[in-house]
């Protein structure tokens, strides 16, 4: 049975950043784009996921609709400046491939850096944003609803049961992790940025996002230091006055172009008296090194140079790569679960038909019974009616449950035909072809409630 789902979009694997940035949707743009898609009658259900690395639309196309062209039209509505046609950057996956793609994306397996943690939150946000849109029928119907919930659960399982998310995989995040393991919360910590190198600034930005209290910037060119300090809401200091600041800082990021060490053990020793031997994290990413290696011999100093950080990142990347097979197994099981759930939808109209028929018989027989037992008091009639309902539910519960289970386990068309034959249900009671059912999946909720006792 083909799942009526598609994913169309661009990702870091199909499009360069110049294209992706033009197709990135902000939070307000997402709602407008989804509503436009729905109003154009292109989709039944849709969720738009837009991150730095991808812009993808997960959708259940409208009857007879073409998912690829619908999304191509949606993207083309933007003022694009790209080389060649847009469709050379677009990809489309359908059915089970689309399901697997979402599950892999949510688990961080399709990310630029395997195991990336942020994507799960971004998928959740995209799902919630589409769910929150007030449309009739809802833009996130039973199929996408189930798909995204399963994807998020599966992503969570991958993160908690494998080492896919263990260790950080960029120099900046390693620096943040190190600072976290030394200081705990970074809220009250002070950073000294020596030099104005790009990596140093990246790390300073990452630390700022963690809420460090202040960033002091010292640079050979004072103007550049002032500009950087303004960016981080910190203060600029001349390079020759760093010893005055050292006693008060917790983290030093060094990336000057100086040909000799800027920080020596003697300079730091003096500051230790004032700083009362508080721990100090020094990240030296300069080549040649800015910090005398013997500084790391002080028990309170944790000194990391660029090679140390690179080695850590490489180890983490290898660790994550080793977990991909394990993660794929979880995703495979989740895909099968979703497929089984969708397969079980096919029996919903049949169950509804069986229950409808049973209900008609029950009412007819009750009417006949009450006619012949006219002396029954109202409360006795109510009891008999209640009894008949409970008996009917009990008799139907097992066959309907077994029917659903059978479909979920892949019994397929032969089971459906057998049930139709046994209960004398004609094809009109069914929802027809897969594509038609895909356009309008039956509501499982009612059947579940009826089936419960």
């Amino acid at each position: 049975m083909t799942l009526p789902l598609s994913v169309v979009g661009v990702s870091h694997e199909t499009a360069p950043v110049e294209v992706r940035e033009q197709l990135a949707y902000g939070p307000y743009e997402v709602s407008d784009a989804l509503l436009a898609l729905r109003n154009a009658g292109e989709v039944e259900e849709a969720v738009l996921l837009s991150t730095c690395h991808r812009t993808e639309v997960y959708l259940r196309p409208a009857r007879g609709g073409n998912a690829f062209h619908a999304i191509e039209r949606m993207f083309s509505a933007r003022p694009l400046v790209i080389e060649g046609n847009l469709d050379r950057y677009l990809f489309e996956k359908r059915g089970e491939e689309a399901v697997r793609h979402l599950f892999r994306v949510t688990a961080g397996l399709d990310a630029m850096v395997t195991g990336e943690a942020e994507i799960q939150g971004q998928v959740r946000e995209a799902y919630q944003q589409a769910t929150a849109l007030e449309t009739i029928p809802p833009l996130v119907g039973p199929v996408l609803n189930r798909l995204f919930q399963t994807a998020l659960a599966s992503g969570g399982q991958v993160r908690s049961e494998t080492s896919i998310g263990e260790g950080t995989a960029s120099v900046a995040s390693v620096a943040v992790e190190l600072a976290g393991k030394i200081f705990g919360s970074l809220q009250e910590k002070r950073v000294l940025l020596l030099g104005a190198g790009m990596t140093g600034e990246l790390i300073a930005s990452a630390l700022s996002r963690e809420g460090v209290r202040s960033v002091a910037v010292a640079n050979r060119t004072y103007d550049r230091a002032v500009r950087l300090a303004l960016k981080h809401h910190g203060q600029a200091i001349p390079l020759d006055r760093i010893s005055e600041v050292l006693p008060t800082v917790d983290i030093v990021l060094s990336s000057t172009a100086a040909p000799h060490p800027v920080l020596t053990r003697a300079i730091l020793r003096d500051s230790f008296i004032e700083r009362r031997r508080h721990p100090l994290l020094i990240i030296d990413i300069a080549i040649p090194r800015d910090v005398d290696p013997s500084v790391g011999d002080e028990p309170e100093v944790f000194l990391y140079n660029v090679d140390d950080l690179r080695t850590i990142v490489e180890e983490h990347v290898q660790l994550r790569a080793g977990a991909v097979a394990e993660a794929d197994r979880i995703i495979h099981a989740s895909c099968e679960d979703f497929g089984a759930w969708y397969a079980s939808l096919e029996v919903v109209p049949i169950i509804q038909s069986i229950r409808g028929s049973a209900e008609t018989h029950r009412e007819r027989e009750l009417k006949r019974l009450f006619h012949s037992l006219g002396h029954l008091a109202p409360e006795d009639r109510a009891r008999v009616e209640d009894f008949s309902r409970r008996l009917q539910n009990k008799l139907l519960h097992e066959p309907t449950a077994q029917l659903r289970r059978g479909m979920a386990e892949g019994a397929g068309r032969s089971l459906i035909d057998a049930v139709r034959f046994l209960y004398a249900i004609d094809s009109a009671g069914d929802s027809g072809t897969d594509s038609e059912r895909g356009a309008e999946p039956p509501d499982m909720k009612d059947v579940d409630e009826e089936g419960s006792e």
């Binding site: 908690s160 260790g167 190190l178 393991k181 031997r277 721990p279 944790f302 080695t311 850590i312």
Partner: protein, 269 residues
């Protein structure tokens, strides 16, 4: 029997913690470890109450009951730590100590002394409870100190592996150690004051040649030593952690030495 059940649950709680340490966070491991610890402490409480109701004496007098009660105070500290996500993992450092105490109590046989102690009543219960709290405070500081030294080592050798990820941040461990030391020191000081007040009032002397008193005073001095290690030449966290571990080892070592040489006679020392 209930004491043994508590011990089994303590052992059971240690297994997921070790699993967590070597395999990293997986599924509900932390929840399982916390749940088993909680059950162990609840059973332990039941066992001590049962002892009291059955024999009509508090489990504080004889060596085995006292060790079990000391383990229980550690169990309570474990539960308190497990309630805070930030410090829950320090439990791995304290749990083995609780296990050893309860295991030793079981091995010795948790039996009543059937002796009428001179020092009884609320004063006695308070004295022993405070002394136990003091010891457990030192045990917590030592557990946090041990983890601090391990994390410090991982950071120094630049190995950001499972141990690095399992152990809480240095700042958290330092804080736990500081709280353990402060609470422990205050509790032990009060226990000593209570004990001495009773001794002077009832026996007319301080009985400083009693091994129990020697050990308690020495433990108190060790507390002072650890505080001094923290303060000399600035607030040296590394030195403080090291001092807590060594100090605790000395306290335990001295207890065992005194116990073996003084022929304790079935009481705590």
């Amino acid at each position: 029997m209930i004491h043994l059940s508590a011990f089994v649950f303590y052992v059971g709680a240690l297994i997921p913690w070790i699993f967590l340490l070597f395999r990293g966070a997986r599924g509900h491991t932390v929840l399982v470890a916390s749940g088993l610890t909680g059950v162990a402490v609840a059973l332990h409480a039941m066992a001590l109450v049962d002892f009291w109701l059955t024999f009509g004496e508090l489990p504080l007098g004889g060596l085995a009951p006292a060790l079990s009660s000391l383990a229980f105070v550690g169990g309570l500290a474990l539960v308190a730590m497990l309630l805070s996500r930030e410090v829950a993992r320090v439990a791995l450092g304290l749990l083995p100590f609780v296990l050893v105490l309860q295991g030793a109590a079981l091995a010795l046989g948790i039996e009543p002394t059937h002796r009428d102690l001179d020092f009884q009543g609320v004063g006695f219960v308070l004295h022993v409870a405070l002394a136990f709290l003091g010891l457990q405070g030192l045990a917590i500081a030592s557990a946090a100190g041990l983890l601090y030294l391990m994390q410090h080592h991982e950071l120094k050798v630049k190995r950001l592996g499972r141990l690095f990820r399992f152990i809480p941040p240095l700042a958290t461990l330092e804080r736990v150690g500081r709280v353990g030391l402060s609470v422990g020191f205050i509790a032990l000081s009060l226990a000593l004051v209570l004990g001495w007040a009773w001794t002077v009032q009832n026996r007319g002397s301080l009985e400083i040649d009693d091994p129990k008193v020697v050990w308690a005073v020495m433990s108190w001095v060790i507390f002072l030593g650890i505080f001094a290690a923290r303060r000399v030449r600035g607030r040296n966290e590394y030195r403080s952690a090291l001092a807590a571990v060594i100090g605790f080892a000395i306290v335990i070592g001295t207890y065992l030495a005194l116990r073996l040489t003084s022929g304790g006679g079935g009481l705590f020392l």
